[in-house]
């Protein structure tokens, strides 16, 4: 079974680019999407309840409607079932404070969104370490 990657991002273009980048990098994953923090929370709750298979990795945008990435991160880190799931913050924010806050708040890594598709592919490759095993 292919590992599941959950992307929580309100930008639908990123959903497609991520899928294409994994394809291009030749990494076999199943990518699931949530279009904002609220949807992401719903899906994660289903995954931790055992109603859905648990994802191997979460890619989390920060600025989203309803529940934003910071709030979702805080909530997710209270769930024991997600303790071992890496959460990578993927955002266009270049503010240093965001980076520091996210890392202090339990994010596994902080990544500025790739500027173009080639960078996306590179980024997808860098995620393979989280997906192995």
């Amino acid at each position: 079974m292919r590992p599941i990657v959950l992307m929580v991002d309100d930008n639908l273009g990123d959903h497609q680019l991520l899928t294409l980048a994994f394809d291009e990098a030749g990494i076999a994953v199943e990518v699931r999407f949530a279009t904002d923090g609220y949807e992401g929370q719903k899906l994660l709750r289903a995954m931790t309840d055992g109603r859905e298979p648990l994802c191997r990795l979460v890619l989390l945008d920060l600025n989203m409607p309803r529940i934003n990435g910071r709030e979702l991160l805080g909530w997710a880190r209270t769930l024991p079932a997600l303790r071992d799931v890496p959460i990578v913050v993927l955002t266009s924010s270049q503010i240093r404070k965001d980076r520091d806050d996210c890392l202090a708040g339990g994010a596994t890594a902080f990544q500025i969104k790739p500027f173009d598709f080639n960078e996306y592919v590179t980024f997808a490759r860098s995620l393979s370490t989280f997906l192995a095993g």
């Binding site: 273009g13 404070k97 173009d116 598709f117």
Partner: protein, 587 residues
């Protein structure tokens, strides 16, 4: 012999009568002792020469004894009468002399006039103060004539009053005989004879020149004070200022007129009490005023405050109050004196300036925030455009003809440029938003960090970079790294052919360090100076020298955040020197 010679005339017994005139003479002119001696001697001589037996002091005959006793009685009678006359004569003489001495010693000019007002006499003191050398020259002159220039009517009235048995009195100016003008206080009275009729007129003039002079000085002073006061009031009114005095014992608070006007009160309506003043102070300022007065009383120091007042017409009134306490002789606060200055215009000016500055600050912040948000939100679509362009190229590139491929390239180039600009704006608007406090920064370290960031650019251009030992400054390290980085990057970029040579140095100037970044590049026309540091200002076409046009504006923003200055100077043999200042971090 004498008796024999006189015998036929006087008879033997009467001859000694000749002694009586002698005794009378002695008693008239001499005192009592010579008189008694003369009586005794005359008696003895008479007995010795004229009473039988002659040449003897013995009087055997009883008739002769009676005669001698009679002689003695008559002699004593004559002497007593003569002595009494002498004493009364001496007394009268003394009284007269005393009167003359008194009048002569008097500092007043005392004159006796006849009933026609002609001058009869003048005391010595009067002659002195009137500078009279020769009284005879003015004896008989008409007294009124002395006054005809200055006070003829008063002089005439005074004489008439005296003649009517009254006392005439006036003050007037009259020259002395030497021509010195003097002020006189003149009293004219009648001199009555024994029979009660007016015999003569007495005029006593007192020199009051000194008094008049001091009176004049005093009047001059008062006039001068009044003039000063008028000018002061005018100046105070013109500067919308008034003064007050608070008698702390009686509680009376006295205001100058213009204070009422400043407070918009009808003239004379201020009650003159501290409560009346308190009722004019705006509730917001009550405590300021109360505490200032309290402190002035306690510390004996002047106070200087600004407070808000309430005007009856509802207009705003801001006052500046300056005052201090004065202590009485017992060391306790006695009164408080101060001025009130209407500073409403200034306050309104300050307020509108503050509002304006706040507005400007807010609008600047809003603009910056807008730029940040716009740039931030533009990043997403730009990323998407570039990424999908790449995907199109990847999937369908081979299907496009040469023309369409060219169009694709143009779109991609524009999108990439847009991304650069968006990134530059974000970086620019993030300057000063790091939330980092200024600290001690080694500019040596900052420069090394900047050079390592520029590693690729430096090695590609074969640039040589020299720097002297650089100081420590007060600042934000990341910004100072960016400052060096932008300036050096510019110096490398604007270089025509030869390898760039860049020199970095710093010189101390008081509390600041004056940095210079010198290059041998294309130079800058000084007329572009103003544009150079503006955002998105480019002096060259971007195909010639690529860039966003934000590097130097970022430098300017960084230096200004550090309260420094940045400017440039053309170098003599080509190239440019950029200079900027940063605060020194000592100790």
């Amino acid at each position: 012999m004498a008796r024999e010679a006189l015998g036929p005339v006087l008879g033997a017994r009467a001859a000694f009568i000749i002694y009586f005139p002698v005794i009378l003479g002695v008693a008239w002119y001499c005192s009592i002792i010579p008189t008694v001696l003369s009586i005794g001697l005359s008696t003895l001589l008479s007995i010795y020469y004229f009473v039988a037996p002659r040449h003897s002091f013995v009087i055997p005959d009883p008739g002769d004894q009676i005669q001698a006793a009679l002689f003695l009685v008559v002699s004593v009678g004559i002497a007593a009468g003569a002595q009494a006359a002498r004493v009364s004569r001496r007394r009268a003489q003394y009284a007269e002399e005393l009167a003359k001495r008194v009048t002569d010693s008097s500092g007043d000019c005392i004159k006796v006039l006849d009933l026609h007002g002609r001058l009869l006499s003048m005391n010595e003191g009067g002659k002195r103060i009137m500078d009279v050398c020769d009284f005879e020259a003015i004896r008989g002159a008409t007294w009124i004539d002395f006054w005809k220039a200055t006070a003829p009517a008063e002089a005439r009235t005074a004489i008439e009053t005296a003649l009517a048995r009254g006392t005439g009195r006036f003050q007037g100016l009259c020259d002395t005989m030497a021509g010195v003008p003097k002020w006189w206080d003149v009293v004219v009275t009648p001199i009555l004879g024994q029979d009660g009729k007016i015999e003569q007129i007495l005029s006593v003039s007192r020199d009051i020149s000194a008094l008049k002079a001091s009176e004049k000085v005093r009047e001059d002073h008062l006039r001068e004070i009044a003039a000063h006061r008028e000018r002061l009031e005018l100046a105070l009114t013109a500067s919308r200022m008034g003064y007050w005095t608070w008698d702390m014992r009686s509680g009376a608070l006295t205001w100058s007129d213009n204070l009422e006007e400043i407070h918009g009160l009808p003239k004379g309506s201020f009650p003159g009490t501290i409560d009346g003043f308190n009722s004019l102070i705006h509730p917001d300022s009550q405590s300021i005023v109360r505490e200032a007065i309290q402190q002035a009383i306690e510390t004996d120091q002047p106070y200087d405050i600004e407070f808000k007042c309430v005007r009856p017409d509802g207009r705003a009134l801001w006052m500046r109050g300056v005052g201090r306490v004065f202590q009485g002789s017992d060391g306790k606060p006695e009164r408080m004196v101060g001025v009130g200055l209407d500073i409403t215009d200034r306050k309104i000016g300050e307020e509108s300036l503050r509002v304006y500055a706040d507005d400007l600050k807010r609008s600047n912040a809003e603009l910056e925030q807008f730029a940040y948000i716009a740039a931030h939100d533009l990043q997403e679509p730009v990323r998407m455009i570039i990424s999908y362009l790449q995907l199109i190229e990847r999937n369908s590139g081979s299907l496009l003809d040469a023309k369409s491929k060219g169009y694709m390239d143009s779109v991609t180039t524009s999108a990439i440029r847009m991304r650069q600009m968006v990134t530059a704006i974000l970086e620019y608007s993030c300057i000063g938003k790091e939330g980092v406090q200024p600290s001690r920064v080694s500019t040596n370290t900052a420069l090394q960090a900047a050079l390592s960031n520029l590693n690729g650019q430096i090695s590609a251009s074969q640039a040589s970079i020299e720097s002297s030992e650089l100081p420590n400054v007060l600042g934000i390290e990341s910004q100072i790294v960016r400052l060096f980085q932008n300036l050096i990057s510019n110096a490398i970029k604007f270089q025509p052919a030869e390898p760039p040579r860049i020199k970095i140095a710093a010189a101390r100037d008081g509390d600041i360090w004056d940095f210079s970044v010198e290059d041998n590049g294309i130079g800058i026309d000084p007329q572009h100076g103003r544009k150079l540091f503006g955002i998105f200002q480019r002096l060259h076409p971007k195909d010639q020298y690529p860039g966003t046009g934000i590097g130097l504006s970022a430098c300017k923003k960084i230096v200004e955040q550090h309260h420094g200055r940045i400017w440039f100077e053309p170098r003599e043999h080509g190239g440019t020197t950029f200079r900027f200042t940063l605060s020194a971090a000592d100790g």
